[in-house]
Protein backbone atom coordinates (compact mmCIF):
# COMPACT_ATOMS: atom_id res chain seq x y z
CA UNK A 1 0.00 0.00 0.00
CA UNK A 2 1.10 3.53 -0.77
CA UNK A 3 -0.49 6.67 0.60
CA UNK A 4 -0.85 9.67 -1.71
CA UNK A 5 -1.17 13.13 -0.22
CA UNK A 6 -2.52 16.41 -1.55
CA UNK A 7 -3.71 19.71 -0.10
CA UNK A 8 -5.66 22.75 -1.25
CA UNK A 9 -5.16 26.10 0.47
CA UNK A 10 -7.68 28.93 0.29
CA UNK A 11 -6.27 31.94 -1.50
CA UNK A 12 -8.95 34.57 -2.02
CA UNK A 13 -12.53 34.59 -3.25
CA UNK A 14 -13.25 31.06 -4.47
CA UNK A 15 -9.68 30.32 -5.57
CA UNK A 16 -7.33 27.75 -4.07
CA UNK A 17 -3.78 26.59 -4.58
CA UNK A 18 -3.60 22.82 -4.87
CA UNK A 19 -0.34 21.14 -3.87
CA UNK A 20 0.55 17.72 -5.19
CA UNK A 21 4.02 16.16 -4.97
CA UNK A 22 5.69 19.58 -4.87
CA UNK A 23 3.73 20.95 -7.82
CA UNK A 24 1.16 23.74 -7.57
CA UNK A 25 -2.22 23.36 -9.22
CA UNK A 26 -4.28 26.57 -9.20
CA UNK A 27 -8.02 26.01 -8.87
CA UNK A 28 -11.02 28.30 -9.08
CA UNK A 29 -14.78 28.07 -9.17
CA UNK A 30 -16.93 28.59 -12.23
CA UNK A 31 -17.50 32.32 -12.95
CA UNK A 32 -21.24 31.72 -12.34
CA UNK A 33 -20.45 31.12 -8.66
CA UNK A 34 -17.77 33.73 -8.13
CA UNK A 35 -14.71 32.24 -9.82
CA UNK A 36 -12.22 34.46 -11.65
CA UNK A 37 -10.45 31.83 -13.81
CA UNK A 38 -7.37 31.67 -11.56
CA UNK A 39 -7.31 27.97 -12.49
CA UNK A 40 -9.60 25.22 -13.77
CA UNK A 41 -12.60 24.08 -11.75
CA UNK A 42 -11.98 21.00 -9.59
CA UNK A 43 -14.49 18.47 -10.92
CA UNK A 44 -13.18 18.11 -14.49
CA UNK A 45 -9.73 17.56 -12.99
CA UNK A 46 -11.12 14.02 -12.52
CA UNK A 47 -11.20 13.75 -16.30
CA UNK A 48 -7.63 15.07 -16.63
CA UNK A 49 -6.58 12.49 -14.06
CA UNK A 50 -8.29 9.78 -16.11
CA UNK A 51 -6.74 10.98 -19.38
CA UNK A 52 -3.24 11.14 -17.89
CA UNK A 53 -3.53 7.76 -16.17
CA UNK A 54 -4.55 5.83 -19.26
CA UNK A 55 -2.29 7.86 -21.59
CA UNK A 56 0.78 6.93 -19.54
CA UNK A 57 -0.22 3.26 -19.53
CA UNK A 58 -0.54 3.33 -23.31
CA UNK A 59 2.76 5.21 -23.77
CA UNK A 60 4.53 2.69 -21.60
CA UNK A 61 2.98 -0.36 -23.30
CA UNK A 62 3.59 0.95 -26.84
CA UNK A 63 7.18 1.72 -25.84
CA UNK A 64 7.66 -1.91 -24.81
CA UNK A 65 6.02 -2.98 -28.10
CA UNK A 66 8.38 -0.63 -29.98
CA UNK A 67 5.44 0.95 -31.79
CA UNK A 68 6.50 4.46 -32.89
CA UNK A 69 4.11 7.39 -33.31
CA UNK A 70 4.51 11.06 -34.16
CA UNK A 71 1.87 12.36 -31.75
CA UNK A 72 -0.50 10.96 -29.16
CA UNK A 73 -3.35 12.70 -27.35
CA UNK A 74 -6.17 11.51 -25.15
CA UNK A 75 -9.28 13.69 -25.20
CA UNK A 76 -12.04 13.21 -22.65
CA UNK A 77 -15.62 14.46 -22.53
CA UNK A 78 -17.69 14.06 -19.38
CA UNK A 79 -21.45 14.67 -19.20
CA UNK A 80 -22.68 15.94 -15.83
CA UNK A 81 -26.00 15.20 -14.20
CA UNK A 82 -28.38 18.12 -13.72
CA UNK A 83 -29.12 17.74 -10.00
CA UNK A 84 -26.82 17.91 -6.96
CA UNK A 85 -24.49 16.26 -6.30
CA UNK A 86 -23.47 16.73 -9.93
CA UNK A 87 -21.57 13.65 -11.07
CA UNK A 88 -20.46 12.35 -14.46
CA UNK A 89 -23.17 10.19 -16.00
CA UNK A 90 -21.10 9.42 -19.10
CA UNK A 91 -17.42 9.72 -19.96
CA UNK A 92 -16.02 9.36 -23.48
CA UNK A 93 -12.31 8.88 -24.17
CA UNK A 94 -10.72 9.41 -27.57
CA UNK A 95 -7.18 8.14 -28.15
CA UNK A 96 -5.73 10.04 -31.12
CA UNK A 97 -2.48 8.94 -32.79
CA UNK A 98 -0.58 10.22 -35.80
CA UNK A 99 2.34 8.52 -37.45
CA UNK A 100 3.40 6.60 -40.57
CA UNK A 101 4.03 3.29 -38.80
CA UNK A 102 0.93 2.99 -36.63
CA UNK A 103 0.00 -0.63 -35.91
CA UNK A 104 -3.73 -0.84 -35.25
CA UNK A 105 -3.56 -4.20 -33.45
CA UNK A 106 -0.81 -3.03 -31.09
CA UNK A 107 -2.61 0.23 -30.33
CA UNK A 108 -5.89 -1.56 -29.63
CA UNK A 109 -4.11 -4.01 -27.35
CA UNK A 110 -2.33 -1.25 -25.45
CA UNK A 111 -5.56 0.70 -24.90
CA UNK A 112 -7.44 -2.44 -23.88
CA UNK A 113 -4.75 -3.40 -21.37
CA UNK A 114 -4.95 0.06 -19.83
CA UNK A 115 -8.74 0.08 -19.70
CA UNK A 116 -9.16 -3.47 -18.44
CA UNK A 117 -6.08 -4.09 -16.33
CA UNK A 118 -3.87 -1.16 -15.40
CA UNK A 119 -5.62 2.21 -15.19
CA UNK A 120 -6.84 2.59 -11.61
CA UNK A 121 -8.63 5.87 -12.33
CA UNK A 122 -10.60 4.22 -15.11
CA UNK A 123 -11.38 1.24 -12.85
CA UNK A 124 -12.85 3.63 -10.26
CA UNK A 125 -14.80 5.84 -12.66
CA UNK A 126 -16.27 2.85 -14.52
CA UNK A 127 -18.02 1.88 -11.30
CA UNK A 128 -19.89 5.20 -11.18
CA UNK A 129 -20.20 6.26 -14.83
CA UNK A 130 -20.57 4.87 -18.33
CA UNK A 131 -17.04 4.99 -19.73
CA UNK A 132 -16.58 4.44 -23.47
CA UNK A 133 -13.57 4.90 -25.69
CA UNK A 134 -12.58 5.11 -29.31
CA UNK A 135 -9.23 5.03 -31.09
CA UNK A 136 -8.51 7.42 -33.94
CA UNK A 137 -5.47 7.06 -36.21
CA UNK A 138 -4.23 9.86 -38.48
CA UNK A 139 -7.43 11.94 -38.43
CA UNK A 140 -7.97 14.29 -41.38
Amino acid sequence: MATHHTKVTHREGMSFDGELAGHTIPLDADPSVGGKDYGPTPKPLLLTSLAGCTAMDVTSILGKMQMPYDSFEVEVDGDTTDSHPKTYSAIRLRYVFTGSELDEAKIEKAVRLSQEKYCGVSAMLKQVSNVDYEIVMNPE
Copy 2:
Protein backbone atom coordinates in the same frame (compact mmCIF):
# COMPACT_ATOMS: atom_id res chain seq x y z
CA MET B 1 -26.52 18.62 -18.65
CA ALA B 2 -23.11 20.16 -19.17
CA THR B 3 -20.21 18.50 -20.94
CA HIS B 4 -16.71 19.04 -19.55
CA HIS B 5 -13.73 18.61 -21.83
CA THR B 6 -10.06 17.95 -21.19
CA LYS B 7 -7.09 16.66 -23.17
CA VAL B 8 -3.59 15.37 -22.49
CA THR B 9 -0.88 15.62 -25.15
CA HIS B 10 2.25 13.49 -25.15
CA ARG B 11 5.37 15.58 -24.71
CA GLU B 12 8.42 13.37 -24.27
CA GLY B 13 9.30 10.29 -22.24
CA MET B 14 6.32 9.67 -19.95
CA SER B 15 5.36 13.35 -19.61
CA PHE B 16 2.16 14.97 -20.86
CA ASP B 17 0.63 18.41 -20.94
CA GLY B 18 -2.93 18.36 -19.66
CA GLU B 19 -5.28 21.05 -20.93
CA LEU B 20 -8.36 22.01 -18.96
CA ALA B 21 -10.42 25.14 -19.60
CA GLY B 22 -7.45 26.98 -21.08
CA HIS B 23 -5.10 26.03 -18.23
CA THR B 24 -2.09 23.74 -18.63
CA ILE B 25 -1.54 20.94 -16.12
CA PRO B 26 1.84 19.23 -16.54
CA LEU B 27 1.80 15.50 -15.74
CA ASP B 28 4.50 12.88 -15.47
CA ALA B 29 4.87 9.29 -14.36
CA ASP B 30 6.47 8.16 -11.13
CA PRO B 31 10.30 8.11 -11.38
CA SER B 32 10.14 4.32 -10.83
CA VAL B 33 8.53 3.97 -14.27
CA GLY B 34 10.51 6.60 -16.16
CA GLY B 35 9.01 9.88 -14.95
CA LYS B 36 11.21 12.96 -14.51
CA ASP B 37 8.97 15.03 -12.21
CA TYR B 38 7.78 17.33 -15.01
CA GLY B 39 4.46 17.37 -13.13
CA PRO B 40 2.51 15.33 -10.60
CA THR B 41 1.38 11.79 -11.40
CA PRO B 42 -2.20 11.52 -12.69
CA LYS B 43 -3.90 9.30 -10.11
CA PRO B 44 -3.56 11.54 -7.04
CA LEU B 45 -4.98 14.36 -9.13
CA LEU B 46 -8.28 12.63 -8.22
CA LEU B 47 -7.58 13.61 -4.61
CA THR B 48 -6.77 17.21 -5.58
CA SER B 49 -10.05 17.28 -7.49
CA LEU B 50 -11.87 16.02 -4.40
CA ALA B 51 -10.14 18.51 -2.10
CA GLY B 52 -10.91 21.45 -4.39
CA CYS B 53 -14.51 20.42 -4.96
CA THR B 54 -15.44 20.17 -1.30
CA ALA B 55 -13.25 23.15 -0.29
CA MET B 56 -15.12 25.42 -2.71
CA ASP B 57 -18.49 24.18 -1.42
CA VAL B 58 -17.43 24.94 2.14
CA THR B 59 -16.02 28.37 1.22
CA SER B 60 -19.26 29.25 -0.53
CA ILE B 61 -21.51 28.01 2.30
CA LEU B 62 -19.46 29.69 5.05
CA GLY B 63 -19.52 32.91 3.02
CA LYS B 64 -23.32 32.80 2.95
CA MET B 65 -23.30 32.07 6.72
CA GLN B 66 -20.91 35.03 7.20
CA MET B 67 -18.50 32.86 9.17
CA PRO B 68 -15.03 34.47 8.95
CA TYR B 69 -11.75 32.55 9.09
CA ASP B 70 -8.10 33.44 8.75
CA SER B 71 -7.05 30.35 6.82
CA PHE B 72 -8.67 27.23 5.41
CA GLU B 73 -7.03 24.13 3.95
CA VAL B 74 -8.28 20.72 2.95
CA GLU B 75 -5.71 17.94 3.17
CA VAL B 76 -6.39 14.54 1.63
CA ASP B 77 -4.67 11.19 2.07
CA GLY B 78 -5.52 8.30 -0.22
CA ASP B 79 -4.39 4.69 0.38
CA THR B 80 -3.84 2.67 -2.79
CA THR B 81 -4.44 -1.01 -3.26
CA ASP B 82 -1.41 -3.22 -3.93
CA SER B 83 -2.58 -4.98 -7.08
CA HIS B 84 -3.54 -3.65 -10.54
CA PRO B 85 -5.63 -1.73 -11.27
CA LYS B 86 -4.44 0.32 -8.28
CA THR B 87 -7.38 2.21 -6.83
CA TYR B 88 -7.95 4.11 -3.59
CA SER B 89 -9.21 1.78 -0.89
CA ALA B 90 -9.50 4.59 1.68
CA ILE B 91 -9.56 8.38 1.47
CA ARG B 92 -9.25 10.69 4.48
CA LEU B 93 -10.12 14.39 4.32
CA ARG B 94 -8.98 16.89 6.92
CA TYR B 95 -10.61 20.35 6.93
CA VAL B 96 -8.27 22.72 8.80
CA PHE B 97 -9.41 26.21 9.84
CA THR B 98 -7.72 28.96 11.78
CA GLY B 99 -9.39 32.10 13.07
CA SER B 100 -10.62 33.83 16.22
CA GLU B 101 -14.31 33.68 15.36
CA LEU B 102 -14.67 30.06 14.20
CA ASP B 103 -18.18 28.70 14.79
CA GLU B 104 -17.95 24.92 15.14
CA ALA B 105 -21.63 24.31 14.40
CA LYS B 106 -21.53 26.35 11.21
CA ILE B 107 -18.33 24.69 10.02
CA GLU B 108 -19.72 21.22 10.70
CA LYS B 109 -22.91 22.09 8.84
CA ALA B 110 -21.00 23.46 5.84
CA VAL B 111 -18.78 20.38 5.61
CA ARG B 112 -21.75 18.04 6.04
CA LEU B 113 -23.71 19.84 3.30
CA SER B 114 -20.75 19.49 0.94
CA GLN B 115 -20.17 15.82 1.77
CA GLU B 116 -23.82 14.78 1.71
CA LYS B 117 -25.41 17.08 -0.84
CA TYR B 118 -23.19 19.16 -3.09
CA CYS B 119 -19.77 17.70 -3.81
CA GLY B 120 -20.09 15.55 -6.90
CA VAL B 121 -16.50 14.31 -6.71
CA SER B 122 -17.08 13.07 -3.18
CA ALA B 123 -20.37 11.45 -4.24
CA MET B 124 -18.52 9.51 -6.94
CA LEU B 125 -15.50 8.50 -4.87
CA LYS B 126 -17.67 7.39 -1.92
CA GLN B 127 -19.14 4.72 -4.19
CA VAL B 128 -15.71 3.18 -4.77
CA SER B 129 -13.73 3.98 -1.62
CA ASN B 130 -14.12 4.51 2.13
CA VAL B 131 -14.20 8.30 2.49
CA ASP B 132 -13.87 9.75 6.00
CA TYR B 133 -13.33 13.29 7.17
CA GLU B 134 -12.39 15.27 10.22
CA ILE B 135 -12.54 18.97 11.06
CA VAL B 136 -9.64 20.65 12.85
CA MET B 137 -9.90 24.15 14.27
CA ASN B 138 -6.85 26.21 15.27
CA PRO B 139 -4.35 23.31 15.44
CA GLU B 140 -1.29 23.82 17.65
